[in-house]
Amino acid sequence: MAQVSLRKIVKMYEGDVQAVKGIDLEIEDHEFVVLVGPSGCGKSTTLRMIAGLEEISSGDIAIGGTVVNDIPPRDRDIAMVFQNYALYPHMSVFDNMAFGLTLRKFPKAEIKRRVDEAARILDITPLLDRKPKALSGGQRQRVAMGRAIVRDPKVFLFDEPLSNLDAKLRVQMRTEIKKVHQTVRTTTVYVTHDQVEAMTLADRVVVMNQGLIEQVGPPQELYHHPATRFVAGFIGSPAMNFLPARVENGAVHLPGGAVLPIPEARRARYAGAPGMDLLFGIRPEHLTDHRPGLPNRADITITPEVIEPMGMETLAHFHLGEARDCCARLEPTVLAEPNVPIVLSADMNNMHLLDAKSGRVL
């Protein structure tokens, strides 16, 4: 088990494609870190550089204190789970899991002990004699994880391991992965484009965008204190609403004339805001139906275009001035109808103000 350090990592592909543009990241021992970001932002490239499958153009990667830039994958003592599992089709499940140990000349009895143990943890003992072809997607996923676990490596690397599973199985395997990590405690770097996966699994989430790290932090921190517009919009579903705004006299002025007073506690923070071009950011869950009497609430009247009853809540989609695709989450008991104006209540304790130009959260 070990820490992983990335120092000023850059990756240039042939043809001057700069996939990773200088990343610094310290991953602690036993930590579960998730790299999340839209497709093409350089997550896989970063992970593959840690694995040694991709050369590092500049910078250093250290695993357990040793710089591994020039060490081939087989000597880095890492294990990786691929999106399409990459099981050896000609080997049985047992042999697939035992392969790494066999190559490292472990005694037969030890191999058997470890494979049986991993199979028990993953609940695949009855499958050990089968070939991968005879397994379902979820079972293959478990075997791929088993192959990583038996090695007892310094670091686990996962590259979108759940993307090929259907929605239900994905949720199930997500829990499974978390359980396994709580059991074996191996340092883990996990890549996904799914922010829900990132939030649920990670000790710390690394949000990446266009080859750079936008923000690093525990899931709750990213949710409550996003540093940039990108993170604010990426974390959370449905995504945060952004409305063009001005600040005057301690209140946020929205297009359409709504005036939302800023809570006392936040006044100092937004002292520099008046006169700036701003975006008012508020998550759908903080934009709910009218509830008189709650502190630090402000009312906005909107006209929903589409109402989506979800059962436990109802989503109302609307637009306000220039801002399209806004969303609010209502109690299911609220009788909202499309094209009938409704008064919403914004939870101003959870509002954000962003600099419209730089995208920085104030």
């Binding site: 087989r74 399409n84 990459a86 050896y88 089709p89 490292r104 090695r151």
Partner: protein, 311 residues
Amino acid sequence: MSADTLSVDTRLAPQPGTGSLRRFTRRRSTIAFLMTLPLLLVIVCLVAYPAAYGVYLSTLNRTMERSIGLGNFEILFDTDTFWNVVWQSCIFAITAVIAKALIGFWLAHMLHHIPTKGQRKWRGMLLVPWVIPPALSTLGWWWMYDPSYSSINYLISIVGAPPVPWLGEPIWARAAIIIVNVWVGAPFFMIMYLAALKSVPEQLYEAAAIDGATGFQRLRYVTVPMMANIISITVLFSLIVTFANYDIVRVLTNGGPRDLTHVFASYAFQVGILSGNIPRGAAVSLFMLPILAVCAFFVLRGVTRRNKEQM
């Protein structure tokens, strides 16, 4: 598929009356049969009939007037030349196929690791020996093998070694035949293996590299097992073709010296056509059949088994 057609049959069969002919022609099994008919005809005309005729021929006497049962085989089994041909054919085919497979594998690997653009050029050039008609290219080799005036011995003389009587000594003549056969046949292996190499998912190599495999171990535990089917089918196919090889022996040595380099096909030609004993020539060719049938049985069984398990 067969279960499917079966169910269609049972549904349609118990409906006699008007339009039953039309219904008959519309059945899936009927259409399937009609569409395979041309192929069946070709197989019957070009494979089944000649094979059966060959069997029939081999039971006749020299003048083809009466049947002598297995007499031709009995006579053959008593001659040393025939057993010599059996040995020579087996050694020739097995050595040549192994050499072709190894060289083809090596070439395929080299090609696989050069970038696509240069790869096409090299692939084209390396295929040349395979696309020239072998009778012509063998003639070229025949010149090169000439003991006193030609290139191979000249090169050997540069090294300082004595000239080699390529086609004069049985041992060298056998080697010469194998070399030409390998030269002609290796590109076929190369192109098959190249296709197979390209179909091995890159991620398997990456997984193996992370699992701790060295380059050689990746070859041994990933590449070769993943290519096993292509390898065995190509070997089987080549074994059949090489066993039945005729032109190279005919052009290079014509079976000599002292009938020691004959293979089945050239010997069958000599006995059947040149010496005019067609039934005995047929018997010689037929002797290949059981040998190849046994090979084919094991190879195809392996292929089926692997297909069932892996694909």
